[in-house]
Structure formats: structure tokens, C-alpha cells
Symmetry: C2
Subunit: 198 residues, 2 copies
């Protein structure tokens, strides 16, 4: 029996699928315990007993790994810079439309609401969401604004978008849950626009 | 030994403090299970084994009882109508200032953050917060607006205020958590004003 497994063991230390799964499990544990900011690719690799290079090989950046670990098919770290870099007078509406259209997709809504419930529900997991928002959404928007109060402006945008998601999708407050996306983009877009540029 | 307790039992069915405590315990259970809308003074009285009149006697309205049950020394059902009824061009700033100043008080912040974590954290308790917001905040603001889309306008106000509380006090996102109240009133007030009247 051992004759069949021995050559594989000698050739490479672990099977690829096995390492990938262990890295993902380590990421879930590490993000959950240390938050987004407190976790590094190196600390996750250490936890999984692999080299950092293997984590990068399988998952790319820390943001890539986070998206995979929480299972959310939504990537503000990839999508938002393009939205903010487009025509300036429509950034507010484009951002609101992007978020709402994403949350209309059942797989984003289901997992997104679950992440928000989990992250907001406990003092331990809140830094996870806070850290991800700060680095991958607010930080990226702020960098593109290049004004002294850019961080505060971007965080105010996050406050309105977070409030919209919480009231429409988590609390499902009647009139907001029933409103169509076009109407909400029209009403909320100018708020985001004003926070960013006025 | 029983000679001492017998006369009291005959005189009145229960001590006043005992009834009050039982009503409060019943309210916590009933609000937790049925949400704010699903609970009535009658259903809470029934659960406590007392008459509805006794609930009104000790606690007043359902909103009074809710405030007592969740232990939050903040009463939008009482304060908000006055704010909205004041000079029209400053309603947005007054509402934002009211909420922020309330949450700067440690006892409001501590219990408020706890209620938000509890209410958002679970599918079961979310209707509690949603129902209270809908009836006592959004409903009261909408009634004072008297326009066809008043409910949606008031709910958008709630979305920005909820987002502000979540990002500043629950997630404690850096630039927003550090900003002073005057600056935030100046930046967020016009958003609320526009949702209400533009």
C-alpha cells in the first residue's frame, strides 16, 4: 500500500489542493481573530505551514485572499478605482449604482448581508469589515481625490453607502427596500458626489 | 413562618415592584421574539399575566416601554417631532447634531452600540430595530412632511443617520471617528436637508 504514496510524498511536500484548502482555512481563522489590518499574507502562510510565495501563487494579494475567504463575489478593490477615475460629475451616481446593482445579485446579497451581520454583530469581527473598507474602499477613493480632507470625504461616502445597504438589505425598511435602483441612484448619487467634490 | 406572608397575599395579588419587573421582563422577551411591530401592550401584558392598564400605568406607551426595555436613554419618538417642526432650513443640521450629541454621551453610546450590534447581528432581532425606526423615527418625520414620497424621504434620512452611527461608533472608521461634531453637522446636515425637502 505504501509503495503507491511514497513517490508522491518524495516528489512534492504536499498535494496542491491540500495546501490551497489549508491556506484558505488559515485565512478564515486569521482574519476572524486578527481583523483585516492585523492579518498579513505572511501570518496566514505561517498559520497554514506554507511559504508566503505559495499564498501569493494561489490567491494573489491579501484583498484577493480576503474575497475568497469570505466568499463574496464583489471586489471594490478592483472595481472602485475605475469608477472614481471616470467622468468626475457622475462619480456619485456611478458608485451608488455599482453597489446597488451588485446587491441585487442574489449571491452578493446573501453573502454580503451575512458578512455585515457577522461583522457588525460582534466587537471581535467588526475590525474585519472596518479594515477592509478602510484599505480597499476608502483608501482607494481617497488616493484618487488628492485633497487634504480626502480620507474624511471618502469615509463619509462609505457612511452613506453602508447606511443604504443596512437599511435596504439588512433591515429591509419598507420604502427603501421597495424603491427601484434608478430612483435611488438619482436621490443618493448627489450625496456621494457632494461628499467627494464640494 | 407562613403567618407573616399570608396577609400580604390576601391584601393585593402581587407587590407593585414585582409586577413592574415582570412586565419589563415580558417586554424584553416579547420585543426580542416578535419585533417592535409584532409586539403590543396587550401581548406584553398577557405574557406578564397582568392587565394592559397596569402596563400603561407603569410605562405609558409602547415606545416608552421599548425605551425602558432596551435601556436606551434616547427618545427619538419624543425629540424628533420638535426638531422637524422647527425652522425648515436648518432641520437637516439639527437632526444630525441631535443624533451625534446623543451618541457622545457615554451611556447612550454604550447601550446604543450594543442595541445596534444585537439588532443587526441576527435575522431574529433585526425587525426590532427596523420596526422602532419605522414607527418612531421615519413615520414621525414623514407625517410632518406631507408630500407623496414622504416615507421614502424619511427612510433615506434614516439611511444616512444609521450609516453615520455604524461607521463612527460601531466600526469606528478613523477619519469619521476623529472628526468633531461641528464639522460633521456641516458636512452631513445638507444631505439630510436635501433628502427631506429638495
Amino acid at each position: 500500500m505504501t509503495e503507491h504514496t511514497a513517490p508522491r510524498r518524495r516528489g512534492r511536500p504536499r498535494g496542491g489542493t491540500d495546501s490551497r484548502e489549508r491556506i484558505l482555512a488559515a485565512a478564515v481563522d486569521e482574519f476572524g481573530e486578527q481583523g483585516y489590518d492585523g492579518s498579513t499574507v505572511r501570518s496566514i502562510a505561517g498559520r497554514a505551514g506554507v511559504d508566503s510565495a505559495l499564498v501569493h501563487h494561489y490567491f494573489g494579494t491579501k484583498a484577493d485572499l480576503f474575497a475568497e475567504a469570505v466568499g463574496i463575489p464583489l471586489r471594490p478593490d478592483i472595481d472602485v478605482p475605475g469608477i472614481v477615475a471616470g467622468p468626475r460629475d457622475e462619480v456619485g451616481e456611478r458608485l451608488v449604482r455599482y453597489v446597488l446593482e451588485a446587491f441585487e445579485r442574489p449571491e452578493v446579497r446573501r453573502r454580503g448581508v451575512m458578512l455585515i451581520r457577522t461583522a457588525l454583530g460582534s466587537r471581535v469581527t467588526s475590525p474585519l469589515l472596518a479594515g477592509f473598507l478602510a484599505r480597499e474602499l476608502i483608501g482607494r477613493i481617497a488616493k484618487l481625490l488628492a485633497v487634504p480632507d480626502a480620507e474624511l470625504r471618502a469615509t463619509l461616502v462609505a457612511s452613506q453607502i453602508a447606511g443604504l445597504i443596512v437599511t435596504r438589505y439588512v433591515l429591509a425598511l419598507g420604502p427603501l427596500a421597495a424603491a427601484d435602483i434608478g430612483d435611488l441612484v438619482h436621490r443618493v448619487g448627489p450625496t456621494v458626489q457632494r461628499y467627494l467634490f464640494d
